[in-house]
């Protein structure tokens, strides 16, 4: 069952001579519960595609259907609610709120939704991500890997249907990178999510169910 469908997505930055055609006529269908990885050279349009999938950006043209809803024709507030409830996004640079403790950061999405998170779910996340002893720490007291795991935890807390992660392993050493990947994989199977991971590390990409290769803004292959 497809959860997201992209139709003819184009993204053009700037205008005229300096216009950059970052995404060209992307048609893509993502199935529920599948682990995808997106690979491609630097500047090929991976992050742009992921932002479009996460309803964080506005495509120049094209449609995205998420769970039957046309995302980019919805209002800004409806998009915000989708991000809050259906999508989890893990940024490469974590983007944790520095003034809030780890636990607060993790709980933020569900608090914003006005609900107390499922306790056992929280416990599970914390245990699996091994951040139990850091819950009262603040972001500036964490290592890169720990921060990345907190960012993942925050993305997972609302049990989103889709988890999007932009090079979550980029700042980590190989061991830590693999560890994070393993966790993503574990939650994907546990929660039955659709997970999309951007990476340029082919070894990591291979762990995914489906590898989407992007070149110059177009999908070169899906395997």
């Amino acid at each position: 069952m497809s959860i997201i469908t992209l139709h003819g997505i184009n993204k053009i930055y700037g205008q005229g001579d300096i216009a950059v055609h970052a995404l060209k006529d992307i048609d893509l269908e993502l199935q529920q519960g599948v682990f995808y990885s997106i690979i491609g050279k630097s500047g090929s349009g991976k992050s742009t595609l992921l932002h479009i999938l996460g309803a964080l950006d506005q495509p120049t043209s094209g449609q995205m259907i998420l769970e039957g809803r046309n995302v980019y024709e919805a209002t800004a507030d409806e998009q915000a609610l989708l991000r809050r409830r259906r999508i989890g996004f893990v940024f490469q640079s974590y983007n944790l709120l520095p003034e809030h403790s780890v636990l607060e950061n993790i709980l933020l999405p569900s608090h914003l939704d006005g609900i107390e998170p499922d306790g056992s779910h929280l416990q599970e996340i914390v245990e699996v991500l091994e951040i139990g002893d850091k819950l009262r720490a603040f972001p500036d007291e964490l290592s890169g890997g720990q921060a990345q795991r907190v960012a993942i935890a925050r993305a997972l807390i609302t049990k989103p249907a889709i988890l999007l992660a932009d090079e979550p392993t980029g700042n980590l050493d190989e061991v830590a990178g693999r560890e994070v990947l393993r966790l993503l994989k574990e939650f994907q199977t546990r929660l039955g999510q659709t997970t999309v991971l951007v990476t340029h590390d082919l070894d990591i990409a291979r762990l995914a169910d489906v590898i989407i290769e992007i070149q110059d803004g177009s999908i070169k292959s899906i395997s």
Binding site: S47, L56, D57, D77, F89, E99, L108
Partner: protein, 1135 residues
């Protein structure tokens, strides 16, 4: 190369360059305005003073030749104007020297000032006296009369008195020598009187024709017959004593004349004609005193001279083009008129007795009339509005000093008459300066000294010069600061580029050069643009000022000040630009200086500790964020508060700048003109005159009241009062007798001396029925106040000052030198304030905080002693009588009505007794002099007599003050014998001062506002960048725009409200400091209420709302722009 680099650098950062440039332009702009306004107001103030008052501080009218020596001895600039005489067309002609024209700034309308011999200029007002308008170059015959000697032949002229004395001595001698014959003559005349009785009675009754119907004819006949018979009987009794000694006879005669005086007084007070001049309330004692004055030797002399006929003699001479005639006038008394001195002399023989002549000449005036052909060289503007000297000495024609010399030294001094040869025309000395008391202090004994009081500076709370200098200081400081800030920010942004240059081998020196070139470009662009704009706007501001105030300010540029201002600004710009450059040494090669210094930030845990987790919301997240950015929050709050503070503060300051205007003119009810007649004008006469005044276009209203002179008030316990005791202790001895008077000045039985000695000095005012003042008084008084009996009976309202005394101050006599320049009206108030002992006031607004002597509440009657010193002989001679009254007090008040009453509201003189105008009439006797018998004049005119002593004051308000209106008002005033006091000039001065101070405050606040807004938006924009990142993250976590908007709107509102509260707190503190330092009395709340009583709160509220609206928008709108962006656009770390 470096130059090109700097230009390309400037062009490469258009936004920053524009900000920097605009700041530089702004600072030159404001400095230009500040300096231009300062010099304009300074120079114009001098000009205005000249225009309004002339630059002479004092006018002497003196003929002392040594005055000039003394003046130059003190190295004072002065002009000497000889007063030549009065021509029927040119008016009063005077010589004018160069320094007069320099000082007086009289505008030449046509032609030229008189320089050559026989050139004459006239004021425009004189043109109407010519049959045709005189043309420049026209030769006219000028004929002017010089009142060479004014021999007023009155009782105080010793020459006159000695002549009459001679005649009386001769008459007495004749009677003594012809003792028995004279007795026979009396007997003969008595028989004749008996024979012609009915004829004499008829003639006597003639006087009563047209007289009051209540007159009892029969009684009058009886009185008259008794009077005549009594006189004969007494006269004949004189000769009953038979003695052969001449000396004895003479002494018998003088004793007779002495005792006869008392009989005559008794006769007089029974004379219905005499009594009719008095009000019913006058006591018999008062009548007797007046009769005594009328029958005094001095008064008899005056009547004798009045009865004499006038005669003239004339002589014509010519010298060197000047023709002059000498005209003498005399009073000629004939021998037979001597009986006016006493009825004893009625029986002198027809033929002239030895020692006397048939006619006796009493010289009156000696007039010199000069005729000379002169050429009209020019017409000058009227300067009556600049004239602060005696009106009768206001010259309307001017000739050169040389012409003056030709007329007198060249002409009159060759006369064959000694009196002409020795005549020197009087000289006016105009003394340059702006301190009207200066000359007075130098020449304390100078007579005819007229200080140019209106020309003196007015003191106000805020001084414009100081404000302008503050403006300059603020501009330079703010310029330096903001340029420093801007260039520092730029500098940080440019570090990378500079580092790059360093990396490719540029030395620090070269980098500095690049920056220096940039400054040169910026300044060479900013100075001319800002300067030019400044000139344009200062011109506009001055124009605006003229429109608002009716000023005639002309823009003046003072290059020195401008240079100073530019120098200072340049310096501050350079400091602002170059100080950040000192940091150029820090430029690292990498060029990546962290914008936020992490080590400065406290670790989060330190700040928050182990906190428990609450349900989080956008509000709580934002709150948390604000805790971490307290410094920025404070900066924002401070800046916002500064903006609202400037808005409200400047409005308040502008309001305060008009404080003097409000206090001195509005609340004291200052009229535009005060017309004062030095005698008490009859009501009907005044009404007619007031109506005439009201018909002048622009006159909005007139108000009349009457003022008596200083008097003495005594009541039981008058000296027990706290205020009186304090004042007596403080006032220096020298002023003590002057203020309170001494018993030596008065004829008083010893047992009544306390009525002067212990009394309180008061002023007396008469309130006209139905006047605004009466209405205001009635409104203030208790409801049971009986207005009707106040109007008709001799009773008074007593106004006592309310006061506040500082007990802790030791009461020491105040140094007289400190009181030198203080007028009597101000004295009581100033003595208390200068000593620090306390304050007094009549201001009802201070009633709550002032106290009053409780014992005075009980006063229900007072003993009033009115000196009559000046009544009989004008001010020339004191007769030293007093009149005493016991006056019932209907109310004691401690404040004036709220409407104010000029001039009392402004000054607080002594206690005041208010009478109705009618009952005040009865306080003073008639004017005794028959010299100008108003009684007779007004009886002919069918008007009430203007004879009571005191002064009539008509206050005039003009809604629209025009030159013509003022001229007409003055003309009418002078014509009717009123002294015209142009208070509107003072009002205008105060108002103009307010406007000018207001404009400067406005300008200052506009500067500050602009800069504050610039800094505020700059720093806010910096904060927004940080905020934008947070918003992006929260957006990605699914915070809706609606939530964002609600939270930020609440935020913006809260900040605005905080700023408003903070600003008000600061203003309240500022006001309190202002009130405390300006030495206001009373408690702060009352003072605050008074100070702000006219404050327009609606405007204040409007400003707050405006600020609230704009402030909210300014903080909220940029957020809205961010919110409309996609999350990825806001999270910059993604890009």
């Amino acid at each position: 190369m470096l130059r090109r680099l700097s230009i390309s650098g400037l062009k490469g950062r258009p936004r920053q360059t524009m900000i920097l440039l605009s700041t530089i332009i702004l600072s030159f702009f404001f400095v230009t305005i500040a300096m231009n306004l300062l010099s304009t107001s300074q120079i114009n103030r001098v000009i205005q003073r000249r225009e309004a008052f002339g630059e002479w501080s004092n006018v002497f009218v003196a003929d002392q030749p040594d005055m000039a020596d003394q003046l130059s001895q003190y190295s004072l600039t002065y002009s000497q104007n000889r007063i030549l005489g009065r021509d029927s067309r040119f008016g009063l002609i005077a010589t004018a020297d160069e320094s007069f024209w320099d000082m007086s700034n009289i505008t030449l309308l046509e032609g030229s000032l008189p320089q050559e011999l026989d050139e004459i200029v006239l004021t425009e007002s004189q043109i109407s006296y010519f049959p045709e308008k005189p043309t420049i170059g026209q030769t006219v015959l000028v004929t002017f009369a010089v009142a060479r000697s004014d021999h007023e032949a009155y009782s105080f002229d010793p020459e006159t008195v000695s002549m009459i004395d001679q005649d009386l001595t001769a008459a007495n001698m004749y009677i003594a020598e012809n003792w028995d014959t004279y007795r026979d003559r009396i007997l003969r005349d008595q028989a004749q009187w008996q024979a012609n009785r009915s004829e004499m009675i008829d003639r006597h009754l003639q006087q009563f024709v047209g007289y009051s119907s209540t007159f009892d004819r029969e009684a009058e006949i009886e009185r008259f017959v008794d009077l005549q018979n009594g006189r004969y009987a007494r006269k004949l009794a004189l000769f009953d004593t038979t003695t052969e000694s001449l000396d004895e006879r003479l002494s018998l005669i003088s004793r007779f004349l002495e005792t006869e005086q008392n009989y005559l007084i008794e006769e007089m007070i029974r004379d219905p004609l005499f009594v009719s001049r008095f009000s019913e309330g006058d006591s018999e004692e008062g009548l007797r005193q007046t009769a005594q004055l009328q029958l005094s030797f001095d008064n008899l002399i005056d009547r004798y001279l009045q009865a004499a006929t006038a005669r003239y003699s004339s002589e014509l001479e010519a010298h060197d083009g000047t023709i002059f005639s000498t005209r003498n006038s005399y009073r000629v008394a004939r021998y037979h008129q001597l009986d006016m001195m006493s009825h004893l002399y009625q029986h002198l023989p027809e033929e002239v007795i030895p020692g006397m002549t048939l006619e006796r000449e009493f010289p009156l005036t000696s007039e010199l009339v000069l005729h000379r052909k002169m050429t009209v060289s020019g017409i000058i503007d009227n300067y009556h509005q600049v004239w602060d000297g005696p009106y009768t000495q206001y010259a309307t024609g001017f000739v050169s000093p040389e012409t003056g010399r030709q007329l007198f030294e060249g002409g009159v001094s060759h006369s064959k008459l000694e009196a002409n040869r020795s005549y020197q025309p009087p000289v006016h000395y105009f003394v340059h300066g702006t301190d009207p008391t200066a000359v007075e202090r130098l020449f304390p004994n100078a007579s005819h000294l007229f200080a140019n009081n209106l020309g003196s500076g007015q003191e106000t709370g805020l001084d414009e010069d100081v404000l302008s200098l503050i403006l300059l200081a603020v501009i330079t400081l703010v310029t330096a600061f903001s340029i420093f800030q801007i260039s520092l920010i730029q500098f940080k942004k440019r570090l990378r580029k500079l580092a790059l240059l360093r990396a490719v081998g540029a030395t620090f020196k070269q980098l500095r050069h690049i920056l220096a070139w940039e400054s040169v470009y910026l300044i060479s662009l900013g100075l001319p643009i800002g300067g030019l704009l400044g000139f344009v706007i200062s011109y506009v501001l001055i124009w605006l000022n003229n429109r608002l105030t009716g000023d005639q300010l002309v823009m003046r540029i003072n290059p020195d000040w401008l240079l100073w201002g530019y120098g200072l600004t340049l310096l501050s710009i350079l400091i602002g630009l170059f100080v950040p450059m000192l940091r150029i040494g820090m430029v690292p090669l990498r060029g990546n200086v962290a914008v936020v210094n992490k080590s400065v930030m406290k670790s989060t845990r330190e700040l928050l500790g182990d906190l428990t987790i609450h349900r989080q919301s956008l509000t709580s997240i934002n709150r948390r964020h604000r805790r971490f950015t307290r410094k920025q929050q404070w900066i924002q709050l401070t800046l916002m508060s500064a903006i609202i503070l400037i808005l409200i503060g400047s409005y308040l300051l502008i309001y305060l700048a008009f404080g003097d205007y409000r206090e001195k003119t509005v609340h004291s009810n200052m009229p535009d003109f005060e017309l004062e007649a030095p005698f008490q004008q009859g009501l009907r006469v005044s009404r007619a005159f007031m109506e005439e005044l009201e018909s002048i276009p622009g006159v909005a209203g007139t108000e009349l009241f009457v003022r008596g002179l200083k008097a003495f008030m005594w009541y039981d316990g008058v000296n027990q009062g706290e205020l009186d005791r304090t004042f007596r202790q403080l006032i220096p001895d020298a002023l003590h007798t002057e203020h309170y008077g001494t018993v030596e000045d008065f004829h008083l039985p010893e047992e009544e001396e306390y009525l002067i000695e212990d009394a309180s000095v008061i002023d007396i005012y008469g309130i006209v029925a139905d006047s605004q003042l009466e209405q205001a008084m009635v409104r203030m008084l208790p409801a049971d106040f009986d207005l009707q009996s106040f109007r008709t009976e001799q009773q008074a309202i007593l106004l006592m000052p309310s006061y506040q005394l500082d007990r802790s101050v030791g009461l020491e006599t105040i140094d007289p030198a400190r009181l030198e320049t203080i007028s009597r009206e101000e004295r009581m108030k100033q003595v208390l304030e200068l000593s620090g002992a306390g304050h007094i006031t009549y201001d009802i607004r201070r009633a709550a905080v002032m106290k009053h002597d409780q014992s005075t509440e009980q006063i229900d009657q007072v003993d009033l002693a009115i000196p009559l010193g000046a009544t009989a002989g004008e001010s020339k001679r004191k007769l030293n009588y007093i009149r005493q009254y016991r006056i019932p007090i209907t109310s004691v008040i401690y404040h004036l009505p709220e409407e104010g009453f000029w001039p009392l509201s402004d000054t607080v003189q002594n206690p005041i007794l208010f009478f109705s105008q009618y009952s005040m009439d009865s306080l003073y006797p008639y004017r005794m002099h028959s010299v100008l018998d108003f009684n007779i004049i007004y009886r002919y005119l069918g008007e009430e007599p203007a004879v009571r002593f005191g002064s009539s004051i008509i206050q005039v308000d003009q809604s629209d003050i025009t030159e013509q209106g003022v001229t007409e008002l003055k003309r009418l005033g002078f014509k009717n014998g009123y002294q015209v006091n142009s208070l509107y000039l003072q009002k205008q001065q105060l108002y103009t001062k307010g406007v000018r101070t207001g404009l400067i405050i406005g300008l200052l606040s506009a500067t500050l506002l602009l800069i504050a807004v610039q800094i505020q938006t700059g720093s806010f924009r910096g904060q927004l960048e940080v905020e934008r990142e947070r918003i992006g993250i929260l957006q990605s976590l699914g915070v809706t725009e609606k939530d964002f908007r609600r939270a930020y709107l609440k935020d913006a509102l809260a900040r605005v409200i905080e700023a408003i509260i903070l600003a008000h707190a600061i203003i309240i503190i500022g006001l309190i400091v202002y009130l405390v330092t300006s030495g206001q009395s009373g408690d702060l709340i009352t003072e605050l209420r008074i100070t702000l009583s006219d404050y327009k709160w609606l405007w204040h509220l409007g400003l707050i709302l405006l600020f609230g609206f704009m402030g909210t928008l300014a903080t909220y709108l940029p957020i809205g722009r961010i919110l409309r962006r996609r999350p990825v656009e806001n999270i910059r770390s993604l890009q």
